[in-house]
Amino acid sequence: MSRIGEAFERARLENRVALAPYVMAGYPEPGAEEELAPCLREAGADVIELGMPFSDPIADGPTIQHAATVSLANGTTLRKCLEAAAHIRERSDVPLVLMGYFNPVYHYGVERFCEDAAAAGVDGLILPDLPPDEAEEVRGAASARGMDLIFLIAPTSTDARIERAARVASGFLYCVSLTGVTGARESLAEGLREFLGRVRRHSSLPLAVGFGVSRPEHVRQVAELADGVVFASALLDLIDRTGRDERLRAVEEYVRSLGAAGARRNAEHVGGRAW
């Protein structure tokens, strides 16, 4: 089992939803992610997603767009993202997932990127504009080096497409909670239970829910339906509006509040099964 798989398994045994916070490399200032990662781990993060900025993030709402713009202005490159991952890895065994768009990876060279990411201690990749249809090369290069390529499943995905993604996926399935871009929302989408039920029928991989998840009550709801929760925009908003001195304390408090909400009251959660 991969480090990511083990993290989900540990959360399951502890009867709670796994937490997967997202921070953007080079945001809000160069090196911030290296301070944030240990803090997130301390606060209960099971997996950390490290965002790699792109000039044209079509799947992202205003918060992550803004973070990418700031990060690029701070001089963040793919090379620096990989170095940041390596530094985080030196100090922690937290599962690390790089998340970004395909063009910079393609430009870097798929084989070389996977080689360097694996050497940096990265455990998985998420590329939201690389659906399974286009992902063969990256999947081959990643899995040859023991990294998971994590696919997104959307509420619009047909059963045939869910099945196809489930066949080639590893690590976990990233279930997009709504039809839309990333960003904090007031409430979770209706139909989430039905959607996750559909995904469950096709895969025994852990399911993580992301897009729009921001509040403890969201995490409480997701905990009853899925195995993990990804949160990004609300965390970046918090980082954005908190002074640097207060940042780590505020982030730790926020992540702990989500973690507390993610503890399951029932031993058997709704979607649960052993994997």
């Binding site: 205003p62 659906p131 696919f151």
Partner: protein
């Protein structure tokens, strides 16, 4: 002749994954893939549907004004001093540019698919105007995304779109131009995918858009091929068009791709200079990358970030170029050149004064290239130019320059 058969085995249609060679495909969020499947299926069905075809042809004739004329530009020919130059007058199509051909085709398709909400992106505003026009005609809701920088420099077209009942949404992210308007339109589509039809304006985007838009624009080349044959009793030696995303160029090139004797030349925006950020010549100076759902030639920095672009013509101001053009370049079937802002402006003046035709600044790039090409050829040869749009929309830009450089 070996030379004549160089291109015999090339791939003229996208494969089942939507690829021309290694270009094209579907690099989009999973949420959109089912919508692209639905679109591809509907397009396949309706393009062979006699009623759909008849309605499209009737609207092309009665509403757009097709076929557009082929015009022998005798004084321009004389000025160039070489091959005969013919202009395919897309500037005379309704709304003043070729963009209406595609907007009409996709609009009719959207209506048949039961999608009542249309979104579009626009750079210069020509595609936005064409889309707003078609939506007004078909009674569809229309939202156009436009970079706030482009809104500034194309005020008249913004007004036209509003007059036609469209909502124009300013885009303030990134470079605030066409590429950012496309990003925002894609984000809208991801959000409202179940009810909304994204009417893309060029031969870009994920499959099936590059093929579908090409098919709707190929009416230009089919007409022009027939018209040149009627006038000259032979095919043209060279076909010239300007290339931004590449829809007018593919429209006139495609019906000639199998005619190996016909050279295809695309004129990209050379801007101020071929330095990063100062031009938009993706095929001449770019490298292979992925943008807006397709792999294609792209202007990008050493880290794979998409570069800003510049062109005097807003319609060519785009860092990528359609996958089929990328394939035509890579295989050598078409050649691509860069025409500078200065050359385009000179060609703009030249066409005004020699022929009494005010071209769009985009089309002026094609005119500049055509004059250069014709000059090197003999008087019995023929150059066909796609005059893709008229220049009324650019008069503000021209007046501004006159004021700066009296």
């Amino acid at each position: 002749m070996i030379q004549q058969e160089r291109f015999r085995d090339l791939q003229w249609e996208a494969d089942e994954r939507g690829k021309f060679g290694r270009f094209g495909g579907r690099y989009v969020p999973e949420t959109l893939i089912p919508a692209l499947d639905e679109l591809a299926e509907a397009y396949e069905r309706y393009k062979h549907d006699p009623e759909f075809v008849a309605e499209l042809e009737r609207s092309c004739a009665e509403y757009v004004g097709r076929p557009t004329p082929l015009y022998y530009a005798d004084r321009l020919t004389e000025h160039a001093g070489g091959a005969k130059i013919y202009l395919k007058r897309e500037d005379l199509a309704h709304t003043g540019a070729h963009k209406i051909n595609n907007a009409l085709g996709q609009g009719l398709l959207a209506a048949r698919m039961g999608k009542r909400r249309i979104i579009a992106e626009t750079g210069a505003g020509q595609h936005g105007v064409a889309t707003a026009t078609v939506c007004a005609k078909l009674g569809l809701e229309c939202v156009v995304y436009m970079g706030s920088e482009d809104i500034e420099r194309q005020r008249l077209n913004v007004f036209r779109m509003k007059l036609l009942g469209a909502e124009v949404r300013p885009v303030t992210s990134g470079s605030r131009t066409l590429k950012d308007a496309i990003n925002e339109a894609i984000r809208d589509w991801v959000t409202n995918v179940r009810t909304t039809f994204y009417l893309i304006g060029s031969v870009i985007g994920p499959h099936p858009y590059p093929t579908m838009v090409r098919d709707f624009q190929s009416v230009i080349g089919r007409e022009a091929r027939r018209q040149v044959l009627e006038r000259e009793g032979r095919l043209p030696d060279v076909v010239v068009a300007c290339v931004g995303g590449g829809s007018n160029a593919i429209g006139i090139f495609h019906p000639f791709v199998r005619d190996e004797s016909v050279r295809l030349v695309g004129a990209e925006a050379g801007g101020r200079a071929l330095r990063p950020g100062e031009h938009a010549a993706s095929l001449v100076a770019g490298s292979v990358g992925v943008l807006h759902g397709a792999s294609l030639y792209l202007l990008q920095d050493e880290d794979g970030q998409v570069l800003g672009t510049h062109s005097v013509s807003a319609g060519l101001d785009y860092p990528g170029v359609g996958p089929e053009h990328s394939y035509l370049k890579e295989t050598g079937r078409a050649e691509y050149t860069a025409i500078s802002d200065r050359e385009a402006l000179e060609a703009f003046d030249l066409l005004c004064r020699t022929e009494g035709i005010i071209p769009a600044l985009e089309s002026a790039h094609a005119v500049a290239q055509a004059v250069k090409t014709a000059r090197e050829m003999s008087r019995d040869q023929v150059v066909l130019v796609n005059l893709s749009g008229r220049g009324d929309k650019d008069l503000g830009t021209i007046v501004g320059r006159e004021e700066v450089q009296p």
